[in-house]
Structures are given as structure tokens and as C-alpha cells.
Amino acid sequence: MAAPCHRGVSAGDDAVGTGTSFKRKVRGKFPAIPGTRPSVHNGQLLVSTGVPSLDHIIGGGLAVGTLLLIEEDTYGTYSHLLLKYFLAEGVISGHEVFVASANDDPTDTLQDLPAPLTDEILRQNDPKSTKEAFGHVEDSQDMMKIAWRYQNMPKMEALPILSSRFGHYYDLSKTMPLEMSAKSHRFFLPHVKPPNQKENVSEVTCNYNQLLEAIQRVVHQEGYDGSNPQKRPKTVLRVGIESLGSVLWGDDICSHERPENQHSLTRFLYALRGLLRTSLSVCVITVPTHLIQNEAITTRVRNLSDTVVGLESFIGSEMEANPLYKDYHGLLHVHQIPRLNSLISDVADTKDLAFKLKRKIFAIERLHLPPDLSDTVSRSSKQDLAGSAKLLSSGCGPAAGGQKHLDF
């Protein structure tokens, strides 16, 4: 509860103070920012994506200064959710948030974030339950003296609202309490004034240009690029951009009528990459790649991002009925893991990953066959399983390997 918080705050001081030699050497390069931790592999400062299992897959978290590209599932259900988790994590960690969209109003998105599942945070914000909690504490002190060691634990009120822990779980059935709001910047394309036509055409397409300028303004004004020594931010800027590359952004990358626009998206991404690398910010973009007809553009977009994951939901696809996938809601493809400050990247052991969504958890796990619990398994369903196992092309043992099933 409070322990990680204290550790996070004092991490910077440990390096300076004498102390024992048994302490982990912490470089005093970054002041301890809540909600971040250094990577064990390359020392990069990481922030959580808001989904702990996704953090694990992409090498511990999202490195500050990098870009996570989420390739949307067909209806955008789960990718939109991942973006919300990312923003909610920013709100809880006290980071600054920048939301850009051409479809949903970012204000609505920010009001609709899932509530954190951390008990102490909820109690803090709900006066009724706080009272209950206090009553409960007093009662227990009167009644039982079993747990002596808990007497010295810090009281509930000592805890800050913002939690500096790395990664949280969220309850999708509740929305984030209104009192908890980070400093946020919004970019909603329909509300943005059209630019005066002084820019030349060979630049990034106008809408991307405006977005880029908006991000740059925030980064520069809030001092995330380190240009202003007086304004040293103690937080990270989280940029979330929804459905980049969709037609709503005025993007016509695949049209042959205006071939000069073909490079607008990649130019934008390159400039954004340059911005992120020189500032204390991190970005998540969802891109509807299934709408981009040109495979070449998709590859280029991937090459210009750092981490790339793709979502493939089962909604509306024939895989929904497949017994192999009955526990899951979709597949997650890891397309690219960045090599930051090292020759190697932290590639997970397995590439067969699936996700499932429950009320309190968005879990990404290794895809495996569900246990066969029924007593009388009909032959046909077993053959289905075998067929789908072949489709998965992973070694599944001899039992599901072929047509020959022995019925005893």
C-alpha cells in the first residue's frame, strides 16, 4: 500500500546518502516520478500501459519517449478500451494527459475512464465507505489483539489519492470519480479551427499538422522538452491519439487522386517520434490498419513506431464459435518490440497470445487449449479441436494430433 510509494519517493535520495553498500545503485538522472520505474534490461524509464499483462509482454512497460502503436480490431472495441486504460493509468499516477480524437469528444473519453480497483483510493473518494472503514478499524482495535503487527501500519487518511504504484487494475463497471482528474489537454478535430491556408501542400496534411502543433505546444509550454529550466515537470505527459489514419482525420492515404498525401501519416509519425524522443512524454496511438488498403503503408507505419501490437477480436468472425477460443475474446499479435539502448529487445517467449476481458481485468495470456472437462466428448467436437490446434500450429501433444481418436 504505502510502501511502494515511499520507496518511489526516496529512490533519488538513496543514491546521494551514504547508507549501506547493500543498496541498489540508483542513478540520480531522473527525479523519482510517480508511476514510473526504470527498466531492468536497459535502464530506460518505464510507465505502465494500464494493463499489467500488456506491460509484461512488451518488456516491463512503455519506455518514456517511445510510441506504442495499437492496430485496432475490426470494430475498435478493445483498442479503444486499451487507450482508456492507458489514460486512466495516467490519471491515477498524476501524469498529464493529452487526448486527441476525430471521432469521440475527448472530454467524454476522459469522463468515461474506468475506475481503479485499488481499495484505498476508492475509500478515500467515497465518504460513506471511508466512515465504514474507520468504524471497522476502531472495532477491530477494541475487539481483537491478534494482529499486533498491523497496529503500526499507516492509517487510511495518510495515503495520497494518487497512487505511485506501477500498473493498476480497473473496474469497467464504474467510471473514474470526478475528483480524480489529471491535468488534461484535449484535441478534438471538429472543434479545431481550420488553418489559414498559408502552409504549402508538401507538408503533412493539414489535420495532422494541427495535431502535431498542438502536441508540440503542450510539450514546449509545460516544459517537457527541458527547454525551460524553471519549469521542470515532475510528471510524464501521456499522449493518446484515437484512430489515427482513419478518414475522419481527413486522411486519404490510399487514394490515387492526391498522391502527395500518401506520406502524410508517415511524416507525422516521424515528427512525433522526434518530439517524443526529446521530451518526457509517451504516446499511444490506435490505428485502424484494416482500413488501410495499402500493405506498404502499414509496414512503413510499423517501422516508424516503437512498439506495435495488433488486436484481432473474435466479434463477428467465425473464430467466435471455435471451441479452441471459447475462453478468449481475441488474439493479440506482437508485431514489434523496440531495441532501445541495446542490441537485443525483450521478446516474450511465446507469440501465441490471446486476451480476454472481464469486468475487473483485461488479461493477456498464452493461448492454450481449454481443459476437456465433459465426460462424454463427442467425436466431432474433438476433431474440431484437433483441426483448430493444427491451425494454431503449436505443438499440442499427440492426443489432439490427428484424426485417429481411440474411444474406450
Binding site: 511524416r267 515528427a271 517520434r273 522526434g274 506498404a296 512503413r300 517501422n303 516508424l304 541495446s342 542490441l343
Partner: protein
């Protein structure tokens, strides 16, 4: 610098071959480790290096080079290395408010939409021989030329640029050029494929890093094909078989081995 790759290529830090154009390709994997190899190799060999880094920031290259035993910052200070950080130049170009700096920016062609002359003059100025230098030969390293395609440079202009660089650095200055191009077969990117084919036609050595066709493996990260001689010069194409090695990238070096002879299976 990976000593094993040096011995495969027959190169040493004592003597550096001159006038060579080396093309690095990758498909289904990331070939950037080859760039790090050549950067640290030429710096160690005492060559004057111009490094056009379009993909990553300076700190990334610097930290990796440190692992390979080369200090980029001091090389930069001593004048051995000229480093062009593409990401920074491009953001300066977009958001900078100094019109004078814009003219001297090597990437200013991206704004004007003209040819790559500014970048070429930057390169040739950086590598021009000057009196009182103790460096061996000039070397130009380009990390990922295909980024320029993504930024909207037409492939023909890019090929012109590469030709100029080759003519100046390889022939006139008797130096070397190394450049990386991402492979594009599987994605059907015609521009990239055109670029790769044309450059491989001009190159003396091609190092091609490929992901394993059988998929991801923890112990073997890919295979490296080494083509020597002008590959597509008609006559030689059938004669020269590529040498194929498999490799595993570790924290500070890369081990190469013959196919199927990974330490994990022996």
C-alpha cells in the same frame, strides 16, 4: 564491433579496404545490429565517419556503441565522427523559429520538396579531406535510407543521392559507404523494392539479415547472407553463392555459426 563478423568478412582494424559500397538489408527481422557493427568498426579502425542517423536518437547509438567499446561523444568532440541526428533536425525544421537555421538544415529539402542536394552537400563537406588530419579514410554510414522514402522523397531522387555519395566518397575520396535498407518483399512496397534492387546492383558486398523462415526462435535470431562481388552483374550472379550463417544477438556481441550448429542444439 563484432570480431566474428570481421573474420567472416575478412576485415581487420589494422587495414581498411577502400572504395567499397556495402549494402545492409533485412527482412522479417531487424538488421540494425549490422549498423552498430560498422559504426564501431570504422571508428576503431581510425576512419573519419559521417553517420546519418535517421531512425534513432544520438543517445541510443551512443549507449550501444559504449557496449561495443567505442565512445561516440569523444569521437564527436575529436572530430572523427560527424553525426546527423535526423529526428532532431526534422523537429527543428518543423518547429524551429529561426529561418537562418532552416536554410543550413541538411533536411530542409523535406520542407521545400526539392532534391536531396542539401543532404549531399552536408555529407561531402563532412568527409572532405582537409590538411592536418590523422584519420585514415572517410566513411559514410546511413542508417535506414528507407526512412527517407517514408518522408516522401521519390525513389529516383534517393537513388541519385546515393549515386552522388558513392561517386564522391568511394571514388573521389577513396572511402567507404555503408547503408541499411529495410526489406520489402512481403509487404509489396514497390518503391522500397526498387531502392533495394538498385542499390544491391551497385554494391560490392551485401549483408542480408533474414528472420528464420520457421518463425521466431529464442536461440537463433536469424540468418545472415553474405553476397560478395557485384551480385547482379549478369555473369557473376550464378557463380557466387551467398555464404549463409546463423546468428544470435547477445547483450554486447553477436555469435555467428553455421546453419543448424547453434550452441543450443549441440
Amino acid at each position: 564491433m563484432f570480431p566474428e563478423l570481421n573474420s567472416l568478412l575478412g576485415a581487420g582494424t589494422d587495414t581498411v579496404e577502400r572504395g567499397k559500397f556495402t549494402l545492409l538489408c533485412d527482412s522479417k527481422t531487424d538488421g540494425s545490429f549490422l549498423v552498430h557493427h560498422f559504426l564501431s568498426y570504422y571508428l576503431r579502425a581510425g576512419c573519419r565517419v559521417c553517420f546519418v542517423a535517421l531512425v534513432q536518437s544520438f543517445s541510443h547509438y551512443s549507449i550501444v556503441a559504449q557496449k561495443l567499446g567505442v565512445n561516440l561523444s569523444s569521437a564527436k568532440d575529436e572530430g572523427q565522427l560527424v553525426f546527423l541526428e535526423g529526428l532532431r533536425s526534422y523537429t527543428d525544421l518543423l518547429f524551429g523559429d529561426n529561418p537562418e537555421a532552416e536554410v543550413t538544415n541538411p533536411l530542409c529539402f523535406l520542407r521545400a520538396g526539392s532534391d536531396l542536394k542539401p543532404l549531399y552537400s552536408f555529407v561531402s563537406a563532412a568527409l572532405a579531406p582537409s590538411a592536418g588530419q590523422s584519420w585514415k579514410c572517410p566513411v559514410l554510414i546511413l542508417d535506414d535510407v528507407s526512412v527517407l522514402l517514408s518522408l516522401g522523397v521519390p525513389p529516383l531522387q534517393l537513388l541519385d543521392f546515393m549515386h552522388y555519395c558513392r561517386a564522391t566518397v568511394c571514388t573521389q575520396y577513396q572511402g567507404n559507404v555503408v547503408c541499411l535498407v529495410h526489406g520489402a518483399e512481403e509487404s509489396g512496397d514497390e518503391e522500397k523494392e526498387l531502392l533495394r534492387r538498385s542499390l544491391s546492383h551497385q554494391s560490392q558486398v551485401i549483408l542480408w539479415a533474414e528472420g528464420l523462415s520457421s518463425g521466431f526462435c529464442k536461440e537463433v535470431h536469424g540468418q545472415l547472407k553474405i553476397f560478395r562481388g557485384a551480385v547482379s552483374s549478369g555473369k557473376k550472379r550464378g557463380q557466387t553463392q551467398p555464404e549463409i550463417y546463423q546468428y544470435k544477438i547477445q547483450d554486447k556481441h553477436v555469435t555467428f555459426f553455421a546453419r543448424g550448429l547453434s550452441a543450443a542444439v549441440l
